[in-house]
């Protein structure tokens, strides 16, 4: 199968737009209303989309499931995997994913704001992780990516991602791409190349080359916020 066709088919499957209706769909006249998706099922579907780089679609799944609830982060809600998926979407896309109404991402300020929210969320999730072995490398990789895109926190990102890399526990290409960029910034060409090599093994996305060589994030501009009431983190 040719790649574009394969991608369309995979995406169609994950998005649930196949030719057959769910057998539990409710017939309402000629209209079929699918039953609401459980948060766990939505999270799994969104995770699949994130892993394939379909950030906008993943964000839409989260938005459809949570409605406006994710606009405010409450510690008690952090066990919902949807929050982590949303944070993943944001850090991987650098805050560019179309997050829906109330989540504008047209400016650097807005994108940085989203990334900051995602980093806060991931840090809270990491702190709440009950595993005896500490936080899951998936969460830590996402946090490392987020920190690498947060002004002034590159050193933290480097430390985190290097520790994961030493144990071969960087869980996705975005993590290796971020590490390549950080090593590049430190002038470690060989290390950066190795990170890029690991990155390219993990993804067909064009994130390992050009994006990995992108400059470290600039200081956030001082553009006044465009986010209205109920914005992220409010």
């Amino acid at each position: 199968m040719r790649k574009p066709a394969a991608i369309v088919l995979v995406l169609a499957g994950v998005l649930g737009v196949g030719g057959t209706a769910h057998h539990d769909a409710v017939a309402c006249g000629a209209l079929f209303l699918p039953p609401p998706e459980s948060p766990a099922a939505a999270a799994r579907r969104a995770e699949s989309l994130v892993s394939m780089g379909f950030f906008d679609e993943a964000a839409r799944v989260v938005a459809q499931t949570t409605g406006a609830r994710f606009r405010s982060v409450k510690p008690g809600a952090l066990d919902e995997p949807l929050y982590e998926v949303l944070a993943e979407v944001i850090v991987r896309s650098g805050g560019r994913a179309e997050l829906g109404e109330g989540w504008p991402s047209a400016t650097d300020y807005e994108r940085n704001h989203h990334v900051a929210w995602a980093v806060d969320t991931l840090e809270a999730i990491a702190a709440a992780d009950p595993s005896p072995a500490g936080t899951s490398p998936r969460t830590l990789t996402a946090l490392g990516v987020g920190l690498s895109k947060s002004y002034g926190r590159e050193a933290e990102a480097r430390m985190l991602l290097e520790a994961l890399a030493a144990d071969d526990l960087v869980t996705n290409a975005w993590g290796w791409a971020a590490l390549a960029r950080l090593r590049d910034a430190a002038g470690e060409r060989d290390g950066a190349e190795e990170a890029r090599r690991r990155c390219t093994l993990m993804t067909v996305e064009a994130i390992c080359g050009a994006a990995a060589r992108a400059p470290v994030p600039a200081a956030p501009d001082v553009e006044p916020p465009r986010i209205g009431g109920g914005g992220i983190g409010s």
Binding site: A40, S51, N172
Partner: protein
């Protein structure tokens, strides 16, 4: 349970000097501890087929869901009929599993104890085997004591003649082993049973539709150690009197014939078990292998059952993720690429990559797969083989995974 324990004590007390009388359960604490351990080690996952939230219960619903009297598979609402039908076609292992009904009536406590500590392939056709659990000798003793005390009461015989024959501890006389061997062959016992090491190995049926009886038929090599000697003859006469769900059919033997068959099974000289070799380790393929191929051919078919598909394991991710069968949670998930790259938690509580090399340099993921092949060949090393209690992967499947790992485990 107290009644059962009391009966064991009573029966044992009434049969002084009986050769294979079950051990009296005079250690109440041990018995209770054994009961707790049976729950802790989740014996019911495989041995309780009528429970919905178990491995065996789920597989039974998949395979027999359409049969009358079997509840509809609970997952049908979530997964849909098409998915279920696909599972029915694909499902190979754990279609049938032995229940623990009447285990105390039939099995020797010392054998149960040894089997828990050193499990081996008892039922050659079954595929699944008793897993290597992390059971201490003391725990095995208490579990065996508990299991041996379950349902130990004398069977109720509807047939008065059989009831009159019933003697809890009849001496197993010498019988006529040669006649028993001839009967064994004439009755076709070898169609279901292997008798490894016996001089005249009965023909073993191959192929065709493997019935429940064939799947569950034990290798008779172990019967002399496994069975309570005093119940073998009555068992041969009326299996369902001991175990309502017995797969063993009633052959209509008379007492004398049954005793001769028992003499053959219990006293036939056996050759030592032949040494088996683990399958060859194939060299890596000369083509690239990606995650999707490995996932579809191995991980999604086998590994995710225990390692992290919550929707398949009653929302707990399975024993390989959240802990089970007495093992702590290792948090290893095979549901996707990124989940797998997150590694697992070692016994000392540290996170480790599944690709990290073990002491001999073999990547851990590959090492556990090879360990399972060696376990099947009778070589039990320190490393517990995977998949736990299921047939080892074929050499070609291991080769595929080794190639993928050697290539940097790409997506």
């Amino acid at each position: 349970m107290r009644v059962a324990a009391a009966l064991v004590i009573a029966i044992a007390g009434c049969a002084p000097g009986a050769e294979d009388a079950p051990a009296a359960v005079d250690d109440r604490a041990g018995y209770e501890h054994g009961h707790e351990l049976v729950k802790q080690y989740q014996c019911g996952q495989c041995h309780l087929e009528d429970a919905s939230q178990t491995c065996s219960g789920c597989h039974r619903r998949i395979t027999r869901g359409a049969e009358a009297g079997v509840p509809t598979f609970v997952g049908e609402e979530e997964f849909g009929v098409t998915q279920l039908e696909r599972w029915r076609q694909d499902l190979v292992n754990m279609r049938e599993l032995p229940t623990l009904h009447a285990v105390g009536k039939l099995m020797r406590s010392d054998w149960i104890e040894g089997f828990l500590l050193e499990p081996h392939d008892l039922r050659p056709r079954l595929g699944a085997t008793m897993p290597r659990l992390a059971i201490s000798p003391e725990e095995a003793h208490d579990m065996a004591a508990y299991l041996a005390a379950v349902e130990t009461s004398a069977p109720y015989f509807r047939d008065e003649r059989l009831g009159a024959w019933w003697d809890p501890y009849p001496p197993l006389g010498p019988g006529d082993r040669e006649h028993g061997g001839a009967l064994f062959e004439a009755q076709g016992c070898g169609v279901c049973h292997r008798f490894t090491g016996a001089r005249s190995q009965p023909p073993w049926a191959v192929g065709g539709n493997v019935s429940r009886a064939l799947m569950l038929a034990p290798d008779l090599r172990y019967t002399r150690d496994r069975f309570r000697r005093e119940v073998l003859v009555p068992w041969l006469l009326e299996p369902t009197h001991f175990k309502a769900d017995a797969a063993m059919p009633r052959f209509g033997l008379d007492y004398g014939d049954a005793r001769d068959v028992a003499a053959y099974v219990m006293t036939e000289p056996l050759e030592p078990l032949a040494q088996r070799a683990a399958p060859p380790r194939l060299p890596p393929l000369d083509r690239p292998v990606g995650f999707q191929e490995v996932y579809q051919k191995v991980f999604a078919k086998i590994c995710i059952h225990c390692h992290g598909q919550p929707s398949l394991a009653f929302d707990d991710g399975g024993p390989g993720l959240r802990g089970g069968f007495g093992f702590p949670a290792v948090e290893l998930s095979f549901v996707g690429y990124e989940q797998m790259l997150a590694g697992y938690v070692t016994l000392d509580g540290k996170r480790r990559s599944v690709f990290a090399p073990d002491a001999d340099g073999t990547p851990h993921l590959v090492a556990v797969l090879l360990a399972r092949q060696h376990e099947e060949a009778g070589d039990r090393g320190e490393l517990r083989g995977m998949p736990l209690g299921l047939p080892a992967l074929q050499p070609e499947q291991v080769q595929l995974i080794e190639t993928w790992v050697a290539g940097g485990h790409p997506y």
